[in-house]
Each structure stands twice: as structure tokens, then as C-alpha cells.
């Protein structure tokens, strides 16, 4: 089962995890990315490319599903305005054993960072700046190829 959602609504971790658990897998791994508030950020705005975003996430989920023999995978990414502490992204993978679930989960967040068309803009009081892409994200994504 592959479940992908790009949504303005807050991410309900309990419901999303339960959806993956219901498959009766032996190992379930999950990742939550949240808005950091440690450097004065007051708001994070997430822009995306409607249509291409969903297709990119489904493509990544399908790759992970096959590569690690997953039983279930869920990827939820929020768009629009968020504040520190809000969840931006949720990924969960279910497999027969923990190794496959953990690796597939790490793969999905690494590849999502470089292969899905999202852009972040940080607001600090009056100033709004687009976040620059990091070379370390490219390195993290390329270790899986």
C-alpha cells in the first residue's frame, strides 16, 4: 500500500502511523520533519509545483516499495504557512523486519529533499528569505544510488 498526500492541513501522526501499522508488519519506521524555531524564524512558507510534486513523491515511494520489499509506505508533506514546532513532513515505512523499514525511511527523506519540487521561505519578523539548497542534501541523496 502506497499513500502520498500533499496538504495544507496539519499532519495527524497518530492516524498516519495507525494506517501503516494496520498492515501487520514486523517493523515500522517513521520520520517527522518539523519547523525549527531556534534561529528567529517566525513563519515558514512551503510552495510547491502542483501535479509534479505528487508524481515525484509517488515515484519515490514506489522505488522504495520495490527496493526494500515494503508492505506499506506513507509520505505526507504539508504546504502553505507554518510556525515553529509544526510538522512539515511525515514518512512511515512498514516491512517484515526493521532493517528494511529503517533504510527505506532514511532513503525517502534523503531523496525527497532533492527530488521533489518544494521551496521554503523563512520569515523572521519583517524579513522573508527563500531558503538556499544545501550541498550536504545532495550528498545525502547520492549515497543511495
Amino acid at each position: 500500500m502506497i499513500n502520498v498526500s500533499v496538504q495544507p492541513a496539519p499532519i495527524d501522526v497518530g492516524a498516519e502511523l495507525a494506517g501503516v501499522e494496520a498492515k501487520g508488519a514486523g517493523g515500522i519506521a517513521s520520520f517527522i520533519g518539523s519547523v525549527r524555531g531556534d534561529d528567529g524564524v517566525t513563519e515558514l512558507m512551503l510552495e510547491h509545483y502542483p501535479g509534479m510534486t505528487e508524481a515525484a513523491l509517488i515515484g519515490l515511494a514506489e522505488e522504495a516499495f520495490v527496493r526494500w520489499g515494503l508492505l506499506a509506505v506513507t509520505v505526507v508533506h504539508r504546504i502553505g504557512a507554518m510556525v515553529p514546532g509544526d510538522r512539515i513532513v511525515f514518512i512511515a515505512t512498514a516491512a517484515a523486519h526493521r532493517k528494511e523499514a529503517l533504510e527505506a525511511c532514511a532513503y525517502l527523506i534523503d531523496r525527497l529533499k532533492t527530488d521533489a519540487p518544494f521551496w521554503k521561505r523563512e520569515r523572521r519578523g519583517e524579513n522573508a528569505d527563500w531558503v538556499e539548497a544545501k550541498a550536504s542534501d545532495d550528498a545525502a541523496a547520492s549515497r543511495w544510488s
Binding site: G33, L46, E47, H48, Y49, G51, M52, A55, H77, I88, V89, I109, L112, K113, T114, D115, A116, P117, F118, W119, K120, R121, W130, V131, E132, A133
Partner: protein, 83 residues
Amino acid sequence: MQILYFAWVRERIGTGQESVEPPEAVRNVADLIAWLGERSPGHAEAFREPARLRAAIDQRFVALDALLGDAKEVALFPPVTGG
């Protein structure tokens, strides 16, 4: 051909979408960027450093030297920063 812009490219140009008909000489994405750069001061500002841009043709990421072929939709944007 539909052109889409995102993030600071969209902001500098002042619109997220426009319809254009490039001439024959515009063969790849880099040619298109150079040609679009002539349309307004905002376009020129957005496209001043093409190396900072990324592109998609018909919703698939491509390199800037990718041929346009019979592309219906071309998107131009900065490197992605999701997750």
C-alpha cells in the same frame, strides 16, 4: 508553450505562469532562459545567473541543456528545498 515559475523566480518576474511561442532558434532550456530574459526587467533580474536555476519539462526535472522538443510545459525555479 506554458512557462511556470516558482519561489524567487516567480517573485522577481511578478507572475507564476505565462504562455509564450519561442522562435525556432530556441532549442534547449538554456536558450529559452536567455530568450525569456529579454521580456522584462523582472525576467532579466530572475535569469541573471542561469547557473542558479533548475528546470522541468512536462513535470520532469531536466538539465539546462535539455532539448525542448515538443514540450507543452516548462518550469523554471531555484534548487528545491523541501522536507
